[in-house]
């Protein structure tokens, strides 16, 4: 059963004590309506409808192959890049369907940035260049007068500035795994997206780096909407405001995180998060 937190500007139905973010009326940054996605003839996402709360962290959990990554890639039109990738349904951003024929997917991806499982730094490019590349590749820089200022601000927002400010000309690959992932986040931030999608951003990181990224997510929430796909349920519980549980391409349950991890309504959610699934 899907909780009634779909649609725009609607209140979370369930009041959760002590969870102020979940209690706030939820303005949606994205509204997903009857989304289906395929790889060739294989259906990977089936009839998902949900609202992604603005300036909230929304986590998507579920077993391997449940469609989490496919779903998140549908949110910025990345799925259609995959071979045989096809999408039906609507994803509304500011009331406009991002899949409407006149919409430019590149413009959507600039507004909805993405951070991947493995830090995708340009290895030979400098730290500065890595962040600046996000701006120059999207031709966004021409409107900016102060490239250095943008790079510095992005690195600060990604909580990396203090660690790299004296070695901006060193290659991105010289950084540790956790730093590289924050560098990717800085690059995503540099183009000033409204939404940041994170696909397993910490799965290749050690616990300390993971905690830094999680802390960073909480900071980012002030300015951005964050959607995170994670295998780590503890991580979803720690950082997110709302959590959706996916199984076999369907959204089984979507509710405030505290509710999902204490009193899930659907038995399949309960079985999955308590390890009885399988």
């Amino acid at each position: 059963m899907i909780n009634n937190i779909t649609g725009q500007n609607m209140k979370m139905e369930t009041a959760v004590k002590g969870h102020s973010d979940a209690l706030r009326p939820m303005k949606c940054a994205l509204t997903v309506e009857k989304l289906n996605a395929w790889y060739g003839s294989r259906m990977a996402i089936q009839d998902i409808s949900m609202g992604i709360g603005a300036q909230r962290i929304t986590a998507l959990i579920g077993p391997s192959g449940c469609g989490k990554s496919t779903f998140i890639r549908c949110l910025n039109r990345m799925h259609e890049v995959a071979e045989g990738g096809r999408v039906t349904g609507r994803v509304l951003m500011d009331g406009q369907d991002i899949y409407a024929p006149q919409v430019d997917p590149v413009a959507i991806r600039r507004r909805i940035g993405m951070v991947f499982q493995r830090a995708s730094v340009f290895p030979t490019m400098s730290i500065f260049g890595n962040v600046a590349s996000g701006i120059s590749l999207t031709r966004f820089w021409s409107r900016r007068r102060d490239l250095h200022g943008v790079v510095e601000l992005s690195l600060k927002k990604a909580a990396l500035w203090e660690e790299v400010k004296d070695k901006l000309d060193q290659p991105g690959a010289s950084l540790s795994g956790g730093q590289q992932q924050r560098l990717c986040i800085a690059r995503a931030i540099a183009i000033e997206p409204e939404i940041i999608l994170m696909d397993e951003p910490c799965s290749a990181l050690d616990p300390i780096s993971t905690l830094k990224i999680e802390e960073l997510m909480r900071e980012l929430k002030r300015d951005y909407t964050v959607v995170i796909v994670t295998h780590n349920m503890q991580q979803a519980a720690r950082v997110s405001d709302n959590t959706g549980f996916l199984l076999l391409g369907q959204l089984i349950e979507y509710a405030p995180t505290k509710e999902i991890f204490t009193v899930p309504k659907d038995k399949r959610t309960e079985d999955y998060i308590t390890g009885r699934f399988g």
Partner: protein
């Protein structure tokens, strides 16, 4: 089941709560037998056994902590663990009440009886019965069974009222009975508190099953 050993540990922990519950039932039974039969040795045994109850409580807490720290329990598992921690606290206090009554049995010693003990054993029996059923509800995840028990605490409260009024009459008629009557009022008070703690257990069982915190017992005392 993918996390077999974890769930086995969780079930064992619940069984440990039942073991502790049966220790309390035994302590309550024995303390009343000691009071009725002026059995000072039995009273001493109840007092000594209270150490084992305390020990059992800490054992259960430690095991619960192990599961919490190593297994990251969630949802119903997390609620079970929370319920366990609260229930063992209530059981431990019930053990103290039973030991308290055993201590009163020692204080009374071989003084001549003020009156035959009728209502106090009834309160004791009722508390034991409620405790037994509340722990059954706990182990069978039966919120409804737990809910049914809560109003039965009124029976214990009413008996306590009755005992109190009766002993007050004794004291008013003959002030020389004040010491003996007061001791029996203490016994009644311990049993009244025992009943209240059973209702706490019932509230925890309801929380464990439904995830909702409800205050169900609005006690007179």
């Amino acid at each position: 089941m993918p996390r077999e050993s974890y769930h086995r540990n969780l079930r064992e922990l619940q069984d440990e709560v039942l073991v502790m519950g049966s220790m309390i039932e035994k302590a309550l039974e024995r303390s009343m037998l000691a009071l009725k039969g002026r059995d000072l040795d039995l009273a001493k045994l109840v007092i000594a056994d209270d150490q084992n109850v305390n020990k059992k409580r800490f054992e259960i807490e430690e095991k619960a902590l192990d599961i919490m720290s190593c297994q990251a329990p969630m949802a119903s598992d997390l609620r079970i663990l929370l319920a366990v921690l609260f229930i063992v606290t209530d059981l431990e206090r019930m053990g103290d009440h039973a030991a308290g009554n055993a201590k009163i049995a020692l204080m009374i010693g071989n003084e001549p009886p003020l009156k035959p003990l009728i209502d106090l054993p009834r309160m004791n029996d009722k508390a034991i019965d409620m405790l037994h059923r509340s722990l059954n509800a706990f182990i069978t995840n039966d919120a409804e069974a737990a809910r049914v028990i809560v109003p039965e605490d009124d029976e214990i409260d009413n008996l306590y009222d009755q005992v109190f009024r009766e002993l007050l009459t004794f004291m008013m008629e003959d002030p020389r009975t004040i010491t003996r009557a007061t001791r029996l009022i203490w016994v009644g008070h311990n049993l009244e508190r025992t009943g209240d703690r059973v209702t706490n257990i019932c509230e925890r069982v309801v929380f464990m099953v439904t995830g909702k915190m409800e205050e169900m017992n609005i006690s007179t005392y």
